[in-house]
């Protein structure tokens, strides 16, 4: 279970030209819920605030205002317990190049307090599903970005997390592997896990997400199942909804 209540987050950066600090309101009052057995898709243009939102859910960042609950726990009060119950993946994470996938998974199994035998079995199972079993004992230094991403996915799911947070999971993956990842997410959902993903791939959202939220400028628009969203906006595809919203927010600002 994920619950966000009026969450805000802003950053202060320095503008080199004006030499003045500049405030970026990355997330401006987002409220949403993801229930167990549900895949929530987070859409939005670059810099909209998707990653910031997911990082806050993963308790890697604290919100400036508002409350976030994961597995019934407040992310600010019990960050470690929250992290124990979630699996987080993002594009700015890399694997330890000196290890093989098997070694890496063994180490992270220890970090996550998974029984070594179970960790080994689960890890190999995940690698097999992601079609990387042949590389289980190869040093990751020479891995392609897609291969590294696969290992990261296995790492995020190793401890059987109740909540899955994937920030652009299919980036760098070929269509076949991307489909495998989607299948994996579907299985997660069917097992009753809470899943939230961000992506730029619209067809993927239409295919697997039970609900979508589109973030523009740190605000959430149209938090609904994809089909309802299309119907209410009289659109044929999510792309179209996206363009409509872009035009609206542009006018609104």
């Amino acid at each position: 279970m994920i619950r966000l209540d009026e969450v805000h987050k802003s950053f202060t950066v320095k503008d080199r030209k004006t030499r003045k600090p500049k405030r970026i309101d990355a997330v401006r009052g987002i409220t949403l819920q993801v229930k167990p057995g549900e895949i929530y898709g987070l859409l939005g243009p670059n810099g909209a605030g998707k990653s910031t939102t997911l990082r806050m859910i993963a308790s890697l960042m604290d919100p400036d205002a508002g409350r976030i609950e994961v597995c019934g726990l407040d992310t600010r009060e019990k960050p470690e317990a929250v992290r124990a119950c979630l699996g987080y993946l993002s594009t700015d994470m890399n694997v330890y190049g000196r290890f093989t996938p098997r070694e890496l998974l063994r180490i992270f199994g220890e970090f996550q307090s998974v029984d070594p035998v179970v960790a080994e079995r689960r890890g190999l199972h995940l690698l097999e599903k992601l079609d990387l079993a042949d590389f289980a004992d190869v040093k990751m230094e020479g891995f392609s970005s897609g291969q590294k991403q696969k290992v990261s996915i296995a790492r995020a799911l190793l401890h059987d997390p109740k909540v899955v947070i994937f920030d652009e999971p299919t980036t760098g993956l070929d269509v076949l592997t991307a489909k495998t990842v989607l299948d994996l997410l579907r299985i997660m959902r069917d097992e009753g896990r809470t899943v939230i993903v961000s992506t730029h791939v619209m067809p993927m959202v239409e295919e697997i997400c039970d609900r979508v939220g589109i973030i523009f400028d740190g605000k959430l628009h149209g938090d609904a199942p994809p089909r309802d969203l299309l119907r209410s906006r009289n659109a044929r595809s999510l792309d179209e909804v996206f363009f409509q919203l872009a035009a609206e927010t542009e006018g609104g600002n």
Binding site: R83, Y96, R98, F99, E103, I107, F111, Q112, A156
Partner: protein, 398 residues
Amino acid sequence: MRGALLIAKKEFLELSKDRKTLFFVFVLPFLLYPAIFGMVAKMGKRDADQNRNKASRVYLVDPSGALTGLLKADPKHFELMPRPEGDVKQAIRDQKLELAVEVAPDAAEALQKQQTFTITATQDESEHTSELALKRFREALRPQEKAWIQNRLQVLNASPQLAEPVKLEVKNAADTALEVGKAMGRMLPYLLMIMMYSGSMQHGIYTTAGEKERHTLLSLMATRLPRNQIILGKLLYIFSMGVIAALLNLLSMALSIPSIAGGSGSQGALGAVAAIANPVTLGLTFLIMVPLGLFFANFILLLGVQAKNTIEAGSAITPGIFLVIFLGVFTMMPGVEKMSFLSYVPVVNVCLALRKLFSQQSNWLEYWVAFAMTVGLAGLMTFISTRLLNREKALFNA
């Protein structure tokens, strides 16, 4: 503590996968010092051998023949040369000669009449071989001179002791153990500090700023491990690498000492080392190395955690070695052990405590003050590092 141990284990596992680094950490010290010490010893020995076995070339002018016999009797040390072409001084400067000795023409006569005669020796003070030639000449002359004096005293029917009113005998109050101990006490803190700091440095950068740069830190931080455990684990690793480096380097140095002392002479020195390297001294040394190593490891960790990338961390951490060298040299200087306020300056007081420990004048209060202060400071820095790592800037503002 379990989390910290797991993190440290991960760091060591990562290290174990890197053969070259392993070689440089664990094998190189055992090749380096024997090689350096051996080379120094060999060069020193060769130079000494060459000079000792070669006779000095001397141009002797001695018309009355008062000294010719003396020098001729010692062909091992003196080779009498014919008059050089041109200027004698120039010939010495050109190293065609080592020494020119000119004895006054009336020397034999002066001896007979019990008068003084003059010898003029020309040398090149800037040349070791020329210095040696003069030294040899002096040494050859001394017994001869004594014999002449004894002769004159005999003629006067005076006691042979007349010309020798005093005989100075010098005794050494320090035993060899104390002497070697003092020298070691001065050197050891310096060596230990440099080795510990430089041993920790690269690994500290690799495991802090390096993890940020390689984008692996986030995956570590996304696990259930508490942040303070992650910091402690990294600290443990950085500290251990410093201690390992210091111990391996010292061990290798100790093993290489016989090669520089060269066989027989080393027996005494080694015995002295064995005498001061008693379990108590070594135990106390090791004990106080712990807070010092923790201090360095924390210093490196702190700078590494706040840095965005390895180059920034390296630029901040490397100058630390100059600080360490300065501190080391400072505490080696004579007299500093008497400045009592230094006992309250962190890190410096550890060096002083070590120095006193080896010169057998240790002061328990000072030792424990140094110990406690350094531990406290190290703990404070661990706390700050944890706070720094907890800030989201550490993770997302790279």
